[in-house]
Symmetry: C2
Subunit: 405 residues, 2 copies
């Protein structure tokens, strides 16, 4: 079987990790290309791979290209020219649909990690996937396109955790609580760990799935303290998140919630910025007549998340707390991963948050390349067999732990 | 004696009050003009004066003109054409020197309320007046120009309070502590009471005069609680401010400090904005390539201080705590004004902070018009006779109280 050419789109923090993981597994693919608006960012990633000596086959280097991912004809031309058959989309979520269109047109498999967004819309009606992605489900099926949506950690691995629990540990599922805490410290006054523009858009309102219905709550209105393995007691807040929007359709469970950990300091900074209107995506006009979106100015002032990695210490813990029944008995099951910022930096010059998102996306690409997941249709992670995935993830640096309570 | 024509420059919150006060005293002047970049803002002020029926002589309405106060030839042409002989400068402090130049050229008296600033410089070396204003002292004297610097409340009335204390109550002065608290509530999440761009520029570092030397301290590094008359216990912070830069030269005192009251909430919001870099006057570039000054974006997001007045409740208290000796005895003297936000709104549709700044500046214009203060040179407030001023201020709505301790 001919090895498949891969196109990795985007040169941000997650893409940095994904490129390292492609390099570490480059024997499994054909030619590997990294493309972004900025060739300079691509070059920096290649330099990092060289520094860390992360090419498995040192004769098969990643090649770089410049591309505007919103320009479908340009994308199609590039993908046809390079004979791309797997496209990993890690550029801004505003480009998801243009990239998917290019994949449908060229016959390439498609993988992304976050829901498509339109710049002028925030927190649209649930389920989010139905607004853009699932509208292209039929066309993917017709053209035998494998499209795996939300294939990072959350969404992504946490969806596979649900599939894994359902396959092996539960007859019925009552509640799924996905919990994401970063107990690390980057030493800066305030920073988001992903693109602030995307990060804060998550926090406009909280869509959650309770008693088999969509419920909308104000942001940060519900919190609790949970005692996590390894990282201990952490304050977590009910938050809206992508995975609820597919799990609620694909998994029969009564309630599906997402919780994210925030320090008091983070919440304070966030509240000040939001209450003043600085997180708004609606343009304001300065007294001098410059029209600008406040959130984009905040982003320009905050540290580039990529620059946090060298000083990051501590660990992340992300996982699913699932309740339900097995063999007629009530059961509570925690399945999670703990990832160490410093170890990630040693391996790929990144921090744990990018590492846990960028590694799974390449695991998915490998499973497509190997055939296990080359399903010739559009799916969310929980619709795929979790067993080869979790096994592969372990080999790639993302181990899964479970506790039955 | 022919009555003198007045030009009021600027149509912001302080100018709103000054225009009302000119209207209430329009029998003392010749023609009165209000000029600003925005004719619309001028019109709104005139409408407010009509609503409140504040013209003393109802046949002598204020006329409005459009002007760019940075354009000296345009200013000169306007002032010559209107035969202006008293110019009240209440536009942005970035325009002070261009307006003063136009006054020197046309022979008009000049009054302002805050130190000149250059957009690209913040908190220059002390004394601040020596950087721009005092460099034009000789030219004012040569051309017999009356130029009164810093003629609002602080600087302004608080400088006159020092002159008054020195004239009547002290032989020697040891310390002068100027204290400015706003114990009012505007009901908004966060707002500055003046132009945020100017407001925050005050808080970069704290120049203060201690033991007859300039000392520079970090902002908000020194605070205390003071029990004020009427408004009670308030937390005040050592702050840099204009008046220290003239009083330190004109008044023989060992220490001159300025203290400003801030709530914990204000300090928290300020710190978050500042630590993130959003109060910076240095431009940042967004990912989309828009170059913008963060502070100007914050300003665009915050409420226009002019809009706070209708809901403002509570009172301000601004005054000087002066220690020294009289007839060989140690003495402590508090001289202050208390101003009520709601009463200000009833009288002139403004809040107390604009009222206490805008009323004194017109008192100064009246004293120039009457001849008491037409000194034909450049002075700071403490160099003028405080007696007719405090007496006039009382008639105009700003009463002075004293406590000898």
């Amino acid at each position: 079987m001919e090895k498949r050419n891969v196109l990795l789109l985007g040169a941000g923090g997650v893409s940095h990790v994904a490129a390292h993981k492609l390099a570490q597994n480059n024997d499994l693919f054909g030619d590997i290309y990294l493309a972004s608006r900025s060739l300079e960012n691509c070059k920096q990633i290649l330099e990092s791979i060289e520094r860390k000596k992360n090419y498995k086959d040192t004769f098969k280097k990643i090649q770089i290209r410049q591309i505007d991912a919103l320009n479908i004809p340009e994308m199609v031309k590039l993908m046809k020219g390079l004979k791309i058959s797997i496209t990993v989309n890690l550029v801004s979520v505003f480009c998801n649909m243009s990239i998917l269109e290019a994949c449908i047109e060229t016959g390439s498999a498609y993988i992304d990690t976050a829901i498509h967004e339109e710049p002028n819309k925030v927190c649209e009606d649930p389920p989010w996937y139905a607004n853009y992605e699932w509208k292209r489900k039929d066309r993917c099926q017709d053209k035998c396109i494998t499209a795996i949506l939300g294939a990072g950690f959350d969404p992504g691995v946490v969806n596979a955790y649900v599939a894994y629990a359902k396959k092996h540990f539960f007859d019925t599922i009552d509640t799924i609580d996905i919990m994401d805490v970063n107990a690390g410290n980057h030493g800066r006054y305030f920073s988001t760990n992903f693109d602030p523009e995307i990060n804060f858009r998550e926090f406009v309102k909280v869509w959650t799935w309770i008693d088999r219905q969509w419920v909308c709550k104000p942001i940060h209105s519900e919190k609790k303290v949970y005692d996590f393995p390894v990282v201990g007691r952490q304050t977590i807040y009910l938050t809206g998140h992508d995975e609820i929007h597919s799990l609620s359709k694909n998994i029969y469970a009564n309630s599906i919630r997402f919780w994210m950990g925030f320090s008091d300091h983070y919440i304070n900074c966030f509240n000040v910025l939001r209450n003043i209107g600085l997180l708004s995506e609606k343009p304001v006009r300065t007294a001098e007549g410059v029209e600008v979106i406040p959130l984009k100015v905040v982003k320009a002032c905050l540290p580039d998340p990529k620059t946090l990695a060298p000083d990051y210490i501590g660990k992340t813990c992300i996982g699913d707390l699932i309740t339900g029944t097995k063999d007629g008995r009530k059961k509570e099951f925690l399945i999670y991963n703990v990832c160490d910022h410093r170890l990630c930096y040693e391996e790929v010059e990144s921090q744990a948050i990018s590492y846990t998102a960028g590694t799974p996306v390449i695991a998915a690409a490998i499973l497509i390349a190997k055939g296990n997941w080359d399903v010739k249709k559009m799916v969310n992670l929980e619709e795929l067999d979790p067993d080869p995935y979790l096994s592969l993830l372990k080999d790639m640096g993302i181990s899964t732990e479970t506790i039955t309570i």
